[in-house]
């Protein structure tokens, strides 16, 4: 079957023709996954819900050439609670961990074989790492507390000498129960929690949350507000890319890069604070628009700042490119070839550096990107150097977009009041954050209470890829490889 045959069985979600929703049975759940994979589509997120949200079910969100698809498999039928639903790990390798997370959080089990807990860490229970046997193989356990200023997670290396034979990740240390926490929030207030799923992607998450809410409440958002949201999203990308470019230089032994780029990042953060009132705009994207309009003086300062960033980063890129030591550390390190990237479902920035030319801003053209027309940056080498190159390209492109927004900001309101309808609703929002596709699935009750909210960070897709990227590399290159992906622990563990 092709994807087209599913069209008749589906309905637009929240009246959006670009998002198809369909309820499926167990067998169709599996067939839909197969058809999406066969058509070149990709899994964006997989999540569950239990009876507290109405009825137990698992959901899958797919991104295809025809837009977004949301499949729901209800688990309140005659099957027993222990009856597993069909796993899709063979089609989408990273789905395995999401299925384990669903078992941890909702108790729903898939047919896939790995039944180890993932997000929950049962006290006193040792986690069973896969052992590598052989002459001279030894294990290096790292974390959860790491040596730098970074988030906690555990890495188990199996090595011979310096060479990594295998890496196994153990995450879940920063699982704070965000999904359970959401249901204690009013839907109009939930964007604050969404922004804090992963602090470095606050704009992406709060915007995705607002799209999910506004679409299901049939709210129309003023054009000016959408442009301002895009401005904040591009500034978030600029700030994070600047930080990463500096940290990557530093991890390659070039402290000059860290000093230069961290200075530029600070200038962007200060300009962001002048524009939005916060260095990291955690509470700025709100249902109905943005929390406050852009002060005219801030717009001019922001534009000057971005012009400086463009000029300075051009000089710095030349220095990185010509530095033999930096090139040596970046090139051929931590490679994910395009074929493997496609099989793993590598997403976002890291995916684009491995030939996976997906970018929701260009693919879905959600407003205002249908007007702004962002260029999709990419590379095919799939190594640290490629992820650095894509960051440089996207940095420039985001500066261009941000300056274009500042120059052509539409007049009008920056916020409208929105009200909950008198019925239960469901919607999703997807935004291309700086790291990759961020998705929020939200179900609200009449009156505006949250029934269920699932925030999905692209780190879910990409964490398993790091286990592949480090194979045959040396242990001292791990920090560099890890930084070149710069995945979120908090976004993943939520």
């Amino acid at each position: 079957m092709t994807l087209k045959t599913w069209l008749a069985a589906s309905a637009p979600l929240a009246e959006d023709p670009a998002i198809r929703y369909l309820r499926v049975g167990a067998e169709e759940w599996r067939r839909l996954a197969e058809d999406v994979a066969a058509s070149g589509g990709r899994l964006l997120a997989l999540w569950g819900q239990d009876a507290t949200a109405g009825h137990p079910a698992v959901f899958a969100a797919y991104h295809t050439a025809a837009g977004l698809w949301v499949g729901e498999l209800r688990r309140d039928g005659p099957e027993s609670a222990d009856d597993p639903y069909p796993g899709v790990q063979d089609l989408y390798p990273f789905a395995g961990r999401m299925q384990r997370a669903i078992r941890d959080l909702q108790g729903l089990r898939s047919t896939d074989p790995d039944l180890r807990p993932w997000l929950r860490h049962p006290p006193g229970e040792a986690y069973e790492f896969v052992r590598v046997e052989g002459d001279g193989v030894h294990e290096i356990p790292v974390g959860p507390v790491h040596a730098g200023i970074i988030e906690p997670g555990h890495f188990r290396f199996s090595v011979v000498g310096e060479k990594v034979l295998r890496l196994e990740e153990r995450l879940g240390y920063v699982h704070k129960g965000i999904e359970q926490r959401f249901v204690e929030f009013d839907a109009l207030d939930g964007c604050r929690l969404a922004a804090r799923v992963s602090g470095d992607s606050a704009v992406a998450f709060s915007w995705a949350y607002c799209i999910a809410l506004e679409s299901q409440w049939r709210a129309r958002i003023p054009r000016r507000a959408l442009w301002l949201r895009a401005l904040a999203l591009e500034l978030e990308r600029v700030a994070n890319h600047l930080g990463d470019l500096g940290a990557l230089g530093n991890d390659a032994g070039f402290a000059f890069g860290l000093a230069q780029f961290s200075r530029l990042k600070e200038l962007v953060l200060r300009a962001t604070e002048t524009a939005f009132g916060q260095r990291y705009p955690m509470d700025w994207v709100v249902p109905g628009g943005v929390a406050r309009d852009l002060p005219a003086a801030a717009a001019a300062a922001l534009d000057r700042c971005l012009a400086d960033v463009v000029a300075e980063s051009a000089v710095l890129r030349g220095i990185y490119d010509e530095h033999a030591g930096v090139r040596d550390r970046f090139t051929g390190t931590g490679t994910i070839a395009p074929e493997l990237a496609a099989r793993l479902g590598l997403a976002g920035l890291a995916g684009r550096a491995s030939g996976q030319a997906h970018d929701l801003r260009a693919d879905l053209r959600y407003a205002p990107y249908e007007e702004l027309r962002p260029a999709v940056c990419g590379a095919v080498a799939g190594d640290v150097a490629a992820r650095v190159a894509v960051r440089f390209d996207e940095l420039l492109e985001s500066c261009r977009l941000a300056r274009r927004i500042l120059a052509g900001l539409p007049a009008g309101d920056s916020r409208v009041a929105i009200v909950p309808p008198a019925s239960d609703e469901f919607g999703i929002g997807a935004v291309e954050g700086w790291r990759g596709p961020v998705l929020v699935a939200l179900a609200t009750a009449a009156g505006g209470r949250i029934r269920r909210c699932h925030p999905h960070d692209p780190s879910w897709q990409n964490w398993p890829a790091i286990e592949h990227a480090v194979i045959d590399n040396i242990v001292p290159d791990f920090p560099l490889i890890n930084k070149s992906f710069n995945l979120s622990y908090s976004g993943h563990d939520s």
């Binding site: 507390v145 730098g148 988030e151 906690p152 879940g172 000093a259 200075r263 990291y280 908090s490």
Partner: protein
Amino acid sequence: MLKTLRQIRRTGIVTEPMPAPDDALRIRAALERRILGILGRALAVRMVDAGSCNGCELEVHALTNPIYNIEGLGVHFVASPRHADLLLVSGPVTVAMREPLLRVYEATPDPKLVVAIGDCGCDGGIFGCRGPSLGAVANVIPVDVAVPGCPPSPNRLLAGILAALDASAALDVGQEGRGRAE
């Protein structure tokens, strides 16, 4: 190489000037005095993320950029709690991070200072204190100073470190017998 040197020269020293009666700056001048006066050497700080959204870590990172230049003040981030005088801890503490945090605290030599950072480190913040979130850092280890903010700005973080030093001076740094607060 020439390009690199030229860029360094062109950038110059961007660290913001020390004294002058400006609030933010006074914090930093005073901080250096306290470090010299109390510790007589650099203050070694170990950062522990016990469950944050990573926003606090971004601002701790900013402290090390050339504009705040915290290392220029003698404050140094170290890789092991065994080398640390002060623990900077972000929250909320998760169930899974409770034991690692206790171990970090135990591994830090006395006398030690603990600064909890962010709204979540202070009281659980937006994540509260329920289910997998144990809330405030003080629910797990003794805390000398709590710096609110979401995330706290680099200058607020500096102010918090200073406050911890002041508190330890008042209590006499050599104090013993602060057990685990569980």
